[in-house]
Subunit: 213 residues, 2 copies
């Protein structure tokens, strides 16, 4: 069982931009760091449910496809699920409408008490209040031997990295400098020394860096 | 005439670590971000004056050799020259003893009034108090048509980058996370949008990123 994280960052390490406005709730910067991923064949088919055959098929797509391979369970924070954006909607079921792209159990870390939500495609959201280690134990119990992804958001992945619970971290560095936003690396001094670090450059100019142990 | 900067950074963008101690005045982190450069054949011959034949000859060495090619003049800050470390030595001639590896005029930005210093190998230090644009005009006058390097330190290169005076920025990202120190990218929002950005990974694992226009 491998605990995995995949993230898109700017070259200056911004994992969560802070340029959101009411008119553009994700912010323009977000688009700049995920552009290469959103252009891949895998993303367009698997997440956007577009017709097969569209999208890039190079190095970026290889990582996009690997993102989904072998995952038995996912853990995400309340913010990534959408609780912070829609705090007053008791019927909120996540951003993904009827087709969440997980196809497995997703543990949402929250202090809210909510019944699990099951989708026809095999995605199941469970809600729990737990430490990173406790959440990981629960994920392992439902992962059926598959890997466990820490999906996000920024605070959640930093908690798992700081706790030393992550076996493989893949970051895609977009060749842009944002200069503002939440930096992934802060507080993770000497992260690299526990891992073998390898890198490769995609056709898009994005640099894929993998920390593995 | 091209204005060039070459820097060694950690993956989290630290250009100047802050772990210096009296016993280790450069700090241990500095060694971690320049290790690949110090190992090159070019550095060992050109800077350390070691016997020819030693050192790496791969991608890192190609950048190390390019560092010295075509430079007609260099600009550096007072701190890089050593004035901040040895403020009370009126005879201070820089860190490099009798063999500064520049072989051209080096303009040192300082409010001190000092006579120029000439070395047998063609290096000449001139001292001036000037804005980035003024210093660049002076450098161009003495560069004999060659390129101009902004050598450092961190504050000086950031001043030139922020003023939009740099044509080519090459950063070598060592695959280590330091988590503390002076970050190059702070305040350089949207730097990449004025440049074409290309990257390649060296045998050492270091990622060479070049911003060019």
């Amino acid at each position: 069982m491998t605990v995995r994280i995949d993230l898109n960052l700017s070259l200056d390490g911004i994992v969560m931009p802070t340029d959101q406005t009411p008119e553009n709730p994700m912010g323009a910067d977000w688009g700049r760091i995920v552009e290469h991923y959103a252009a891949t064949k895998t993303f367009r088919e698997r997440v956007m449910h577009e017709t097969a055959g569209e999208g890039t098929t190079g190095v970026d797509d290889r990582y996009a496809a690997a993102y989904f391979e072998g995952i038995g369970a996912e853990i995400m924070g309340a913010g990534m699920f959408g609780f912070h954006t829609f705090p007053d909607d008791p019927e909120w079921r996540g951003w993904w409408e009827d087709e969440p792209p997980f196809h497995s159990t997703v543990l949402v870390l929250t202090s809210r008490e909510r019944a699990p939500i099951d989708f026809a495609n095999g995605t199941r959201f469970e809600f729990l209040s737990a430490s990173p280690a406790e959440a990981l134990a629960r994920a392992e119990a439902v992962a059926g031997g598959g890997d466990i992804r820490i999906g996000g958001g920024a605070g959640t992945v930093r908690d798992f990295l700081a706790a030393g619970l992550v076996d493989r971290l893949h970051v895609a560095l977009a060749p842009v400098v944002l200069g503002q936003g939440l930096r992934l690396w802060d507080g993770l001094r000497n992260l690299g020394s526990d891992y073998v670090v390898t890198s490769e450059v995609a056709e898009s100019g994005v640099i894929h860096v993998t920390f593995a142990r």
